[in-house]
Subunit: 138 residues, 2 copies
């Protein structure tokens, strides 16, 4: 079994929606969740809404890509969960020993400049799971 | 706008799966997430897995009901997100003023003995959102 301390907590839970970011706006307007960042990447915008102990991530379709395919297939809704770990390369190595397969063969730089990797949904019963090694901004 | 401090954090993110709880077992086995409680309610078992800053909740179908209908319709996967608030009745009242509709007309006792209420998914763009007022066990 992995060292349980390797999962430091939930980094974010993400939802996907179509162009316009109406749902992100609804979370802001009704719950007062502050938007801490908006990043534009090919195919979608990534908005981080602060929940205090973790973040809600809004993925807004802006063009073709994985987020659009998800929204086209399943409609808007919850998209993935992201666990924070100390050492993503070590986590990936240990998880591979447990039969977990990764979409990203190596950690890559994702939103916020953090190191990230996604596992295949089939490895977690249909749930898309991301791992995040937080990189300080400075 | 609501007082942002009303949302204290993410209480849990829930996934639904069929009988056998294979996915909950996978999270335990591969990530070492400890199970802090299992509650049997009509139609499903509710397992809480500790993530440190919040919980992952596994909903395992055991009979007819809302969880089975969700798994039958959409397959296993992410099911809902739950925000912790200080005063659920006050939150519901304020959210109704913002046009949010609730499945539960009044707060009810849910898992862990906490007060809970679910909003209709249409109020949050297709995402099922729960509010939780934590009740101490003692």
């Amino acid at each position: 079994m992995l060292n349980p301390t390797r999962v430091k907590g939930l980094h974010h839970v993400a939802f996907a929606e179509g162009q316009g970011a109406e749902l992100a706006e609804t979370f802001q307007r009704t719950l007062g969740l502050p938007v801490t960042s908006v990043e534009r990447v090919p195919g979608f915008n990534e908005r981080m809404l602060d929940l205090g102990n973790c973040s809600l991530q809004g993925l807004e379709v802006t063009g073709e890509g994985v987020v659009k395919r998800s929204v086209d297939r399943r409609g808007p809704g919850l998209h993935h969960i992201a666990f924070e770990v100390d050492d993503i390369a070590a986590t990936m190595s240990e998880l591979r020993d447990h039969g977990i397969d990764f979409i990203d063969p190596e950690p890559r730089t994702g939103g916020g400049g953090h190191l990230i990797a996604f596992a295949y949904p089939k490895s977690f019963g249909g749930v898309l799971v991301e791992f995040v090694e937080v990189r300080s901004e400075f």
